[in-house]
């Protein structure tokens, strides 16, 4: 894991503590480590959505993604005393989920296009007519634009969408994205999506 981060740093602004998913998770985990066993259930409840989407962005089926999450949580509980930075537990879990998901995905598939740009263009070429029709009928413009993004951007935005603003930069780092991928600046992935939406006359700006 990359060097541990002092989480609170990101959340102090003008003397007020900005609440974020990472700080809530960090406090729950600290309390759990201090002996409050019930806090683990709260931690699981609070973080299951973001970890679900982290695992699923590795293109695992539902049952496999669930196994990955079970493995990651059991590892956390078994190693809980050895985690050096309890306040960074969210990053620890996201990194572990991502690694475990890709490890399992590699074992599942012999062939997987590794280059995200390549896989995106291949996917659009091989898309069946039925898929296209279904997609247009669903009228979900946003989804269509998400699917056009490079895979690493889809993963980043998908995970980020389940977190809070102060968490963005650290989560991007946990997902292996370069510094500046998102937060405090917009970063390339969101910029790409906004340009695509700006060029879509059917997208209503809100």
């Amino acid at each position: 894991m990359p060097d541990q981060v002092v989480l609170n740093r990101c959340c102090m602004s003008g003397g007020t503590v900005e609440d974020s998913l990472a700080t809530r998770a960090g406090h729950l985990f600290s309390e759990y480590r201090n002996g409050d066993q019930a806090k683990m259930a709260d931690l699981v409840r609070v973080l299951t959505p973001i970890l679900w989407h982290t695992a699923r962005s590795a293109r695992l089926d539902s049952a496999t993604a669930e196994d990955v999450l079970q493995t990651v949580w059991l590892t956390l509980v078994r190693k809980s005393d050895t985690i050096t930075e309890p306040l960074a537990v969210l990053q620890w879990l996201v990194v572990s989920t991502k690694r475990e998901a890709w490890r399992v995905a590699r074992n599942q598939l012999r062939f997987r296009p590794e280059d995200p740009e390549f896989s995106t263009s291949e996917a659009s070429k091989s898309e069946s007519i039925e898929d296209t029709v279904l997609r247009d009928e669903s009228d979900n413009r946003l989804w269509r634009h998400i699917e056009q993004l490079p895979e690493r951007c889809r993963t980043l935005l998908r995970v980020i969408a389940f977190a809070d603003r102060p968490d963005y930069a650290e989560l991007a780092k946990a997902l292996g994205m370069p510094q500046g991928s998102i937060g405090p600046t917009r970063g390339r992935c969101l910029a790409k999506l906004r340009i695509a939406l700006a060029h879509d006359p059917t997208w209503e700006h809100r």
């Binding site: 683990m40 259930a41 079970q70 989804w143 969408a161 917009r186």
Partner: protein, 173 residues
């Protein structure tokens, strides 16, 4: 797209990327979240299943397996749905047999016997919450009238100076 258009596009992207996040970015991320929640919802009960496994692991719990499931006098009383059932489940530390008798008011009487189970605490985990009792010196225990539904037994067995837990598979009462 010719080369200068392409350059222009990259320039626009660079500029946009370097700006600070603004309210429309947060609105867009909210829409993304809603889209993913709709397209790929977290499976029902996933958090509960994780909590369950984490708890078992933390408690060093043995999971008992079903070894026998008898419909009492199944041949003779096949016409009646009020069948008494006997279920046996076993783990490393003990064997438990429970007899389930449906009562007229729709509840179920549970008669159990755990061996070796003298004086142990038995918890019946039901949808409406846990019910507790203690086994007698022979390891026998009773839950007089519990609601129907899926249930698990948790038996707390003294093990050295600590209690270890034996958990039954889910059983339909």
């Amino acid at each position: 797209m010719n080369e200068s258009d392409n350059d222009r596009q990259i320039e626009v992207e660079d500029e946009l990327a370097a700006e600070e996040l603004d309210p429309s970015d947060f609105a867009l991320l909210n829409s993304l979240r809603a889209t993913y929640e709709e397209r790929d919802p977290v499976p029902d009960g996933l958090a509960e299943r994780i909590q369950f496994h984490v708890t078992l692991d933390a408690l060093n719990t043995e999971v008992a397996t079903l070894t026998q499931l008898d419909m009492a006098a199944a041949g003779a009383r096949s016409a009646t749905t009020e069948a008494v059932r006997t279920i046996t489940f076993t783990s490393d530390s003990l064997t438990t047999m429970v007899t389930l008798t449906p009562l007229e008011d729709g509840t179920v009487r549970v008669d159990g016997w755990a061996a070796p189970g003298a004086g142990i605490r038995i918890e019946l985990l039901l949808a409406d919450g846990p019910h507790n009792t203690y086994a007698d010196e022979d390891g026998r225990f009773v839950f007089e009238a519990v609601p129907c539904g899926l249930a698990k037994f948790a038996l707390y067995v003294p093990h050295d100076s600590e209690l270890s837990t034996v958990l039954s598979p889910a059983i339909e009462l």
